[in-house]
């Protein structure tokens, strides 16, 4: 009965769905994401060097105006242009981190899937253990070892990010392995490596992509947090977290200097998070009904 009735549930608004496959106003999200990615690539090129790095004490702490759209910071640098320039450090780093730990996650999941029962058990216990380890504290350790910099933050986050991906992927891979057609192929003597490359990995790609997009949002947030506790990007970097950090002392006199880069982080995090949701709905029709 329930199934009969869902057929008649009210249709949602869908003007643009026919073109993009993405329902209604949600089309805004991928557009924003693409714009952000373009910005991350060309940002440092279009932002004038003088506005981004050069101190100009005379125009310090200026509120937003037609000359400085988002005001200036304590050194008189233009907040707007610094955000543009910092997009690269913030966003491309996040993309690198997530891509990095996704690869580690794929490797670990593959080992667990192909290795048989015992290898799987051991690998999964290691994953559990790694999951119990707070990523920020690990990052602090790596930063302490390598010296605080954006690069050590990136390495630390790659080293702590993989367990969840590994766990999710292993679930998907095991499911694929137990599918009838894969079992058949196995009986027919198709090698495990070939099986992995031809069936299991391609089958995990959608899950991976969904997670990839969602993770970038989270990563940007944590990356900013690392800058904030002093182990990420260092001044005078225009990485957004570092911008907030350097502006925290002047929040009473020039709140815009801390406010604006935080908004930039939030917009990026929200956009990628929503992209993850949209991709999930696209790839998983069962979810569409929810």
């Amino acid at each position: 009965m329930a199934t009969t009735l869902t057929k008649f549930s009210p249709e949602r608004r869908n003007w643009l769905r026919s073109i993009s496959g993405i329902p209604g106003t949600q089309i805004v999200i991928p557009i924003v994401v693409v714009l952000l990615l373009i910005l991350a690539l060309v940002g440092p090129l279009i932002a004038p060097e003088s506005q981004v790095y050069r101190s100009d004490i005379l125009s310090a702490l200026a509120p937003p105006s037609s000359q400085h759209w988002l005001g200036t910071d304590e050194q008189g640098r233009d907040v707007f242009w610094r955000i543009i320039a910092g997009a690269q450090a913030s966003l491309l780093s996040a993309v690198a981190i997530v891509t990095g730990f996704s690869i580690v996650g794929i490797l670990v999941a593959t080992i667990a899937t192909l290795g048989g029962k015992w290898v799987d058990e051991v690998v999964m216990r290691v994953v559990d253990a790694a999951l119990a380890f707070p990523p920020i504290i690990f990052a602090l350790g790596v930063a302490a070892a390598l010296g605080p910099s954006l690069n050590s933050a990136i390495i630390a986050m790659i080293l702590t990010g993989w367990p969840v991906t590994a766990r999710v992927l292993r679930g998907v891979m095991r499911e694929t392995m137990s599918q009838a057609y894969v079992e058949n192929a196995r009986v027919l003597g198709v090698s495990r490596t070939r099986l992995m490359l031809r069936h299991v990995l391609p089958n995990s790609m959608d899950v991976l992509l969904v997670k990839w997009a969602g993770d970038i949002g989270n990563t940007i947030l944590i990356l900013g947090g690392l800058s904030f506790v002093g182990v990420g990007a260092q001044p005078p970097s225009a990485e957004w977290g570092a911008m907030v950090t350097s502006a925290k002392g002047i929040i009473a006199t020039a709140p815009w200097a801390a406010f604006a880069p935080g908004v930039a982080i939030a917009i990026t995090a929200v956009a990628f998070g929503l992209l993850g949701d949209i991709l999930q709905v696209r790839f998983n029709p069962a979810l569409r009904k929810r």
Partner: protein, 342 residues
């Protein structure tokens, strides 16, 4: 009998008349789903009368609107837009507030569902679930427990006091259906709506549950509206049958008339699909084709593409319900003069 029937083209009619003893009187119930701009008419001007103790079957294929109709009498689907009237016990259910409706559901009208496996809350004990309608009505626990035990025993649940502490997963399908029936009966309703109560059960258990429902409803003088796609279950159980096709009532007659002289070609087809003991060669016929989607009904009679006796008029005009030659009502162009013959 049919002296008060009114034959206005916009008004559907029913066999028995609304009078002082009417328990349930559905008039021109129209059910729409979907958005207001592109509504989907699931049921079109459905009417039905039931007196206290009446046993009526509502028969049709899946998608005919029979379940939707049954659920809408209880107003179970908030997304549906209901028009017309549903008079029950002197009040129009469609005019009641949701809060007043809560007082009707379970307490005045009980309902039994198709799938006993999914019908029970897996986290609550059988006893708590059977008692629940009484508890929300303010009956104290001891009294509710006593009545739950007695109704479960009435329905043949052995060792009821102990079984009430069990959880649904410890019950078989047939037993769960008894529990669902107990939940529907515990508040002493005057009407039970049974929505395909045996479809999900295996054949032997089907028989048991049906016999039990028959016995209990007779003993209690309950009116029963049985929703089913299977005319076979109807024969021994009900007095009257209404047949639905694509959201409309197309045929209504007493069980005898319907089985011996089915008026509507669709009813004739349904009957041929019922296995009969008196036929030496088991012959199961089904009507070719499938019922139309509510958003895509053919013009004219909705049944015309599947009807072997269809003629031009059937493809142009929707037939209204008229008295059938052998008694009852039928909506079919084959009986144009039926009204005059009476």
């Amino acid at each position: 009998m049919n002296t008060t029937l009114i034959h206005s083209p916009k008004q559907e009619t029913t066999v028995s008349r609304p009078d002082a003893t009417t328990l349930l009187s559905v008039r021109n119930l129209t059910i729409e789903a979907g958005s207001k701009n592109s509504p989907l008419r699931l049921v079109d001007r459905f009417s039905l009368d039931m007196s206290p103790g009446d046993r009526v079957a509502l028969v049709g294929e899946s998608g005919s609107g029979k379940s939707v109709t049954a659920r809408s009498i209880m107003r179970l689907d908030p997304d549906f837009r209901l028009t017309g009237s549903i008079d029950f016990d002197g009040q129009d259910l469609l005019k009641l507030s949701e809060k007043q409706m809560v007082g009707i559901r379970g307490h005045k009208i009980g309902m039994v569902f198709q799938d006993p496996m999914g019908a029970l809350n897996p986290l609550m004990t059988i006893g708590d679930q059977v008692m629940e309608p009484l508890r929300v009505a303010g009956v104290d626990r001891a009294e509710a427990e006593r009545r739950a035990k007695s109704v479960l025993e009435e329905l043949g649940v052995a060792n009821a006091a102990v079984r009430m502490k069990a959880y649904p997963h410890e019950f078989s399908g047939g037993m769960r259906q008894r529990v669902v029936l107990a939940m529907a009966l515990i508040s002493d309703p005057s009407l039970i709506i049974a929505d395909e109560p045996t479809t999900a059960l295996d054949v032997r258990v089907q028989e048991q549950v049906l016999t039990l429902m028959d016995k209990v409803s007779k003993e209690r003088g309950l009116a029963v509206l049985l929703i089913t796609h299977d005319l076979g279950t109807v024969a021994g159980f009900t007095d009257r049958v209404a047949v639905m096709y694509s959201g409309r009532k197309v045929d209504e007659a007493s069980v005898d008339t319907l089985f011996n002289n089915p008026a509507h070609p669709y009813t004739q087809g349904l009957l041929q699909a019922v296995p009969r003991i008196d036929q030496t060669v088991p012959r199961l016929l089904t009507i070719a084709g499938a019922p139309p989607h509510p958003g895509n009904r053919p013009t004219g009679c909705a049944f015309n593409p599947r009807c072997s006796q269809a003629f031009d008029l059937c493809r142009e005009q929707i037939p209204e319900l008229r008295p059938a030659p052998e008694g009852g009502m039928v909506a079919c162009h084959l009986y144009p003069a039926a009204g005059k013959e009476q």
